[in-house]
Symmetry: C2
Subunit: 357 residues, 2 copies
DNA sequence: TAGCCTACCTGTAACGTTTCAGATTTGGGA
DNA sequence: TCCCAAATCTGAAACGTTACAGGTAGGCTA
């Protein structure tokens, strides 16, 4: 004889007990379980749990008590199948920006917010060689998320257009310039660049260069450029161009190129850098050229992880709180899903000059 | 009259067209769609798509062709509800280890593998103050993943015990010492510590200290300690203890404590550090004490992001390829889910001394 | 007394998939 | 010619949830 014991319990569900092997595999309670216990129909239970107006208060209390006692949790697959709601937010990012905890902080920030909700976070990285639209299309076509958070926003971003057309809630890290109102959170890169140049000017620097984002592809490049130019003009300083490198370049190449530039005749005496990772390679190049930070040349950099001030205390540092960005973005998509107008879900955070310990 | 047009298509599903507003919201094809197009029953289609033996080859070909042409993708909720399979792998990690791209590289490594499969990756961070069991229990109780990947493995890890008892596939980053065979991937920290001390000995250092993981809580602490002690003994050197700091300590406190220690009389002349982030603070402390790396004291560190050699070229660096760890762990859970024996899913990677450019 | 409203509750169907237990067809052997 | 097995295919049921269209009881009005 089989040593398994198959029985029907009162709810009609099957219990499968494996005599000694499986550890009393407790069956997960469903609406049916509660319905049986309360002597009600499943519909009533379903409604009672979501505080529907047509259910009596006494019933609601009773049902909710039972649900809590037996640890009922709605089956996500059931809900998803029936309602089409996935309770999933998808973070789509490119695998390049891994350096210096940008990704992790974003993930943590988002999770912090989602952990208070029924939403789960799925992460979908794509490599820079691939089409950024691909993961987006996949999510939309398979309906695998209720909302999307994405980074590396471009001025005329096809993803934004696509998602808007399809009516899928999303929030971007970074702004667009395409006349579509959508939720975003952005770091004020214009202010950063402006303030950076200002602080170099204050140190008496007059030939200033910037290591910026991948030109004009990504929106923040434009903002940096605007802030930079404005400050340069106001200070009637000279802008030195860095050709052949940007923040996406490999650290090794940044270092080499910097050594080259800083050994040349037209070298800048002040540099603005918009990534902590790049700044480190940049410094290596400067020092390889025999120059000293804080003496021959001053450096201002953005950082998203507390590290540059340990690296070279002379570097002027502005913090970008990516974790905060994550929280803002998560809140934005959630509220967008809830139907809030996109214009109310746009926020900016300002550069915060690092205070020395 | 209503300006919406509700019609039944041939499959019996409802199409809801919003005259001008919604952009031809194409209905997602289901098995039913294919069944209708092929003039078959849904059962046959379902089977044909998974190459079941009882379906004729001609039918299979036809069905698969149609499926491809109309871009059919199985509905995850349907599958999940029916089979209980979620097609989700959950990465559970603590929010502390954010520094220096550890988390991101892990995520990217895992995604790389999962992107070739029907699996999605969800990330569930928890803060160190919370019970590490909590997210695990949640996943098991709600059945929200088919497999789990987790880090910060402890010698006697309650999560490992719990998951094993419940028969949930998982893989850990790091080993346990509890007599349970389970899939893992680990960096050989014993070899790292051993080799590190060896290289310090080779530089003539004789008073050696180590900044290690949180004592004995996390397994890798033991491995580090073993490798360290063995090398110290073999080289008949002196081990200097670092009290009050470990790799979890805040960078600020590490710096301060290091300054203190390195200003004292019994300061080491060689240091092993097992985290790139901590190494940076450590260097700051050493230099604040007026000492020079490579002269007064030598430093060996592990890094998971290419940064220390730009920071101070004098630091001896061993790389831990966390992205590779992510790939290994993902492969391990997947194969575990497929029923492969746990003992075949245990792997180790070895420290790889960083080659100078 | 009938009629009707309100307050509360219920069964059935459906979402898309897989499994189960057949049903149908075909070909071959007797 | 008949029957059986093999090869294909099929409908119904079920997973857990919510939406829809009722149902019932009690009280109130006319």
């Amino acid at each position: 004889m089989d040593d398994r014991l198959i029985m029907k319990n009162k709810t009609g569900n099957q219990i499968l007990r494996d005599a000694a092997i499986a550890p009393a595999e407790a069956e997960r309670p469903t609406l049916k379980t509660i319905a049986f216990m309360a002597g009600l129909g499943v519909t009533t239970v379903s409604r009672a749990l979501k505080d529907a107006p047509e259910i009596g208060q006494a019933t609601k209390n009773r049902v909710q008590l039972i649900a809590k006692q037996i640890g009922y949790r709605p089956n996500r697959a059931g809900v998803r199948l029936r309602t089409g709601k996935t309770n999933v937010i998808s973070l789509v990012l490119n695998a390049q920006s891994s350096i210096m905890g940008l990704t992790s902080n974003m993930v943590y920030g988002i999770s912090e917010v989602l952990s208070q909700t029924p939403y789960h976070l799925t992460v979908t990285p794509y490599s820079l060689e691939n089409d950024p639209m691909q993961p987006i299309r996949y999510i939309v076509e398979t309906g695998s998320a209720d909302g999307i958070i994405m980074s590396r926003t471009e001025p005329d971003d096809p993803r934004v257009r696509y998602l808007t057309e399809h009516g899928i809630p999303f929030a971007t890290h970074g702004r667009t310039e395409m006349g579509i109102e959508h939720p975003y959170h952005d770091f004020d890169n214009e202010a950063f660049a402006y303030l950076s140049v200002k602080s170099l000017l204050a140190k008496g620097r007059r030939k200033i260069a910037m290591l910026a984002g991948p030109s004009p592809a990504v929106t923040y490049y434009r903002h940096l450029d605007r802030g930079f130019s404005r400050a340069i003009e106001e200070g009637s300083a000279a802008a030195v161009a860095f050709s052949g490198v940007d923040v996406d370049t490999s650290l090794g190449r940044i270092r080499d190129r910097m050594e080259e530039i800083m050994s040349g005749s037209n070298r800048p005496d002040g540099i603005v850098c918009c990534s902590g990772g790049a700044a480190i390679a940049l410094v290596a190049g400067i020092e390889a050229a025999g120059l000293k930070i804080g003496e021959d040349v001053d450096l201002v950099s953005k950082q998203s992880t507390d590290v540059l001030q340990w690296f070279r205390p002379q570097i002027i540092v502005f913090n970008e709180d990516v974790r905060h960005a994550g929280r803002e973005l998560a809140r934005a998509v959630l509220r967008r899903i809830a139907g809030v107008d996109a214009r109310e879900l746009q926020s900016l955070s300002y550069p915060d000059e690092h205070e020395l310990r």
